[in-house]
C-alpha cells in the first residue's frame, strides 16, 4: 500500500527518534571503548594514540583478579541456589494453594523495591550479631535474596506458558506425578530455567551496592574492587575493564536471546 508523504515523514521522524534514543543508550559504551584504547593516561577525545596497554594492566591488576575470582565463587553459588529455590517455589506458586502463599510471594519479590543498601546493611548487621565473619556465606546469602525475584519471575512465566493439557495427557498415559515432572514439565521448562540462571548470574556478578556493605577486603567482588580503584586512580584501566564487561555481557545476552528468546522470558513478545 503506497504511503502518503505525511505518513512517510512521520515514519522517518519516528525512526530518527528511536535512533537518537538508541544512540543515547549506546553512547557511554562507545565512549568508554574509545577511552580504553587510548595510548595516553589522560583522557582525550579522540585519542592521539591507540594501545592495548590498559587492557594488559587491568588483567594483571591483582585486586581485579581477586575480585573476578571472588565474583565467580559468589555468583556460582548464589545463582545456582537461587535457581533451585526459585524454580521450586515458582512451581508451588503456579500449582498449589497453601496458606500464606501470597504473603510469601510478596516478601520474596520485595527485594525489587527495597534499596540494596538497606538489604546490605541488614545482612551486615545480622552477620555481626550472629557472630559470622564477613565471609562468603553472608555475601552468597545476600545475593540469593537479591536475585531470587528475577529467577522467580522468569520461571513462573515459563511455567504459565506450558500447555497444562500436556501434563494431563501424560497422566492419562499412566505417568505418576514425579514422572510427569521429570519427563514433561522440566524438559519444557528448560529454556526458562537456563535464562533464569543466566539473569541471576549476570545480576549477581555485577551487583555492587549491597556487596559494598557485606564484602570484606578478602571477599571483595569485582564491582567493589572497581569502585575502590576509581576513587583513587584516574587512568583508563577502568575503561578497559568496562569494555571487557560490556562485550561479555552483550555476547551473553545475544546468545540468550538467540537460543532462549529473551523476549518471551521478559514477556515482551506479542501475545498472538
Amino acid at each position: 500500500m503506497p504511503k502518503s508523504l505525511s505518513q512517510r515523514l512521520l515514519l522517518l521522524a519516528a525512526n530518527l527518534v528511536v535512533l537518537a534514543i538508541v544512540g543515547f543508550l549506546v553512547l557511554p559504551a562507545f565512549v568508554v571503548a574509545l577511552a580504553a584504547f587510548n595510548g595516553r593516561a589522560i583522557l582525550s577525545f579522540p585519542p592521539d594514540t591507540w594501545s592495548w596497554r590498559w587492557f594488559a594492566k587491568a588483567i594483571a591488576y591483582e585486586d581485579f583478579r581477586a575480585g573476578f575470582h571472588n565474583g565467580l565463587i559468589v555468583t556460582g553459588w548464589a545463582s545456582t541456589i537461587a535457581l533451585m529455590v526459585g524454580a521450586a517455589f515458582a512451581f508451588a506458586l503456579d500449582r498449589y494453594q497453601f496458606r500464606f502463599k501470597r504473603t510469601l510471594e510478596a516478601v520474596l519479590l520485595s527485594p525489587l523495591i527495597v534499596p540494596h543498601f538497606t538489604v546490605g546493611l541488614g545482612f551486615l548487621i545480622v552477620a555481626a550479631q550472629l557472630g559470622f565473619a564477613r565471609g562468603f556465606a553472608v555475601v552468597v546469602a545476600c545475593h540469593v535474596v537479591l536475585v531470587l525475584p528475577f529467577v522467580l519471575r522468569s520461571v513462573y512465566i515459563s511455567l504459565r506458558n506450558i500447555d497444562p493439557r500436556l501434563e494431563l495427557a501424560a497422566a492419562s498415559l499412566g505417568a505418576p506425578p514425579h514422572r510427569v515432572l521429570a519427563t514433561i514439565t522440566l524438559p519444557l521448562l528448560l529454556p526458562g530455567l537456563v535464562s533464569g540462571w543466566l539473569f541471576a548470574a549476570i545480576l549477581s556478578f555485577n551487583e555492587f551496592t549491597a556487596s559494598l556493605f557485606v564484602t570484606a577486603q578478602r571477599t571483595q567482588t569485582l564491582p567493589v574492587a572497581m569502585y575502590n580503584y576509581v576513587r583513587e586512580y584516574a587512568d583508563p584501566s577502568m575503561a578497559a575493564v568496562s569494555v571487557i564487561y560490556i562485550v561479555v555481557t552483550a555476547v551473553l545476552l545475544t546468545f540468550a536471546n538467540a537460543f532462549l528468546g529473551l523476549g518471551k522470558v521478559l514477556n515482551v513478545e506479542h501475545a498472538r
Partner: protein, 283 residues
C-alpha cells in the same frame, strides 16, 4: 488435582530465604532504635534519638532532594523509554527487534559501577561531551556536568531505562494490534489512533514502569556517589557515609528505615493517584 505431592520440599527453601530477608530488615529496624556508641561497633540501649536527629533540616533536604531526583528520573525515563518500547514491540524485522532488545537490556546487566564510570568518561571536564563541544567551537570553557544534579539525572535515566522499556514493552505487546487498525479504519490518522487507543490501553504498563523506576532509582548508590561526588547526595549515599565513614550504624539504620517508609509512602501515593487513570485502561 487436589493432592500436593511436593509442597513442603518446594516451599521450605523459599520460606527460608524469605526468613533471611525479613531478618535482615528486622536487624535494620532494630538498630535504628538503638543508640550510637562512638568508637564502638556495638549499639547502645533503646532510644528514639536517631529518628529525632532525622528531623534536622539537613536530612530533610536530602530526603526531598532524593524524591525530586527520583521523580525527574522516572519522568524522563518514561519520555525516552516509550518510543523505544513501541519500536521494540512493533519492529517487523526480527534482527532489528533482537538488536533493540539486547541494546535496551544490556545496561541493566552491566552493573552500576561500569555504567557510572562510563558516564564519568562522557560527562567529565576532559570527557567526551566537553571535548567534542570544545573542538567544534560551540563552547570556550568545559561545561560543568559532573557533580551536578543534571549529570546525575542523565546517568540515572540511562540506568533506569532498561527497566522502563521492559515494563512498557510487556504492556504494549499485549495490546491487540487490531485495536489500532480498527481506529484507523474508522478514520483516525496514525497519531490520533495512537493517542486515543494505544496510549490509554498502555496505561497499566506506564504506571508499573513509573512505579518501578521510582523504586529502582531510590536504591541507586554508585551513580550519585561517583557522579554526584558529595555535591549531590541521595539517601543511599548518606547511609553509606554514616555507616562506613563514621561507623554510625544506628543512624544509618534509621536513615534506611525512613527511606523505606518514604518509598512505600510514595509508591502508595502513586498507586492511589493512578487508580482513576486505571479505569481508562483495558480493564
Amino acid at each position: 488435582m487436589t493432592d500436593r505431592p511436593f509442597l513442603r520440599t518446594f516451599v521450605s527453601p523459599a520460606a527460608l530465604c524469605a526468613l533471611a530477608f525479613v531478618a535482615a530488615l528486622a536487624a535494620v529496624m532494630q538498630y535504628s532504635v538503638r543508640a550510637y556508641v562512638p568508637g564502638s561497633l556495638e549499639p547502645g540501649g533503646l532510644t528514639l534519638a536517631n529518628f529525632a536527629a532525622l528531623l534536622k533540616p539537613l536530612y530533610g533536604r536530602v530526603f526531598l532532594d532524593t524524591v525530586w531526583i527520583c521523580f525527574l528520573t522516572a519522568f524522563w525515563t518514561l519520555i525516552v523509554g516509550y518510543p523505544l518500547a513501541y519500536a521494540l514491540v512493533h519492529a517487523r524485522n526480527v534482527a532489528l527487534k533482537s538488536a533493540i532488545l539486547v541494546i535496551s537490556v544490556t545496561p541493566l546487566f552491566l552493573g552500576e559501577v561500569v555504567r557510572t564510570y562510563s558516564w564519568i568518561v562522557v560527562l567529565g571536564n576532559n570527557g567526551f561531551v566537553n571535548s567534542m563541544l570544545l573542538k567544534a567551537g560551540v563552547i570556550a570553557q568545559p561545561m560543568q556536568l559532573m557533580f551536578t544534579r543534571f549529570g546525575v539525572v542523565i546517568a540515572l535515566v540511562h540506568v533506569t531505562l532498561p527497566v522502563m522499556v521492559i515494563m512498557l514493552a510487556a504492556a504494549l505487546a499485549h495490546i491487540d494490534p487490531d485495536y489500532e487498525r480498527a481506529a484507523e479504519s474508522l478514520g483516525a490518522g496514525p497519531i490520533r489512533a495512537f493517542l486515543t487507543v494505544t496510549l490509554p490501553l498502555s496505561l497499566p504498563g506506564i504506571i508499573a514502569g513509573v512505579t518501578t523506576s521510582f523504586a529502582w532509582t531510590f536504591s541507586a548508590f554508585a551513580t550519585p556517589q561517583l557522579i554526584g561526588g558529595g555535591q549531590v547526595n541521595m539517601v543511599s549515599n548518606l547511609v553509606y557515609q554514616l555507616g562506613f565513614a563514621s561507623f554510625n550504624f544506628p543512624f544509618a539504620a534509621s536513615l534506611s528505615v525512613a527511606g523505606l517508609v518514604l518509598t512505600f509512602a510514595v509508591l502508595a501515593l502513586l498507586r492511589a493517584a493512578a487508580r482513576p487513570l486505571e479505569r481508562i485502561g483495558p480493564n
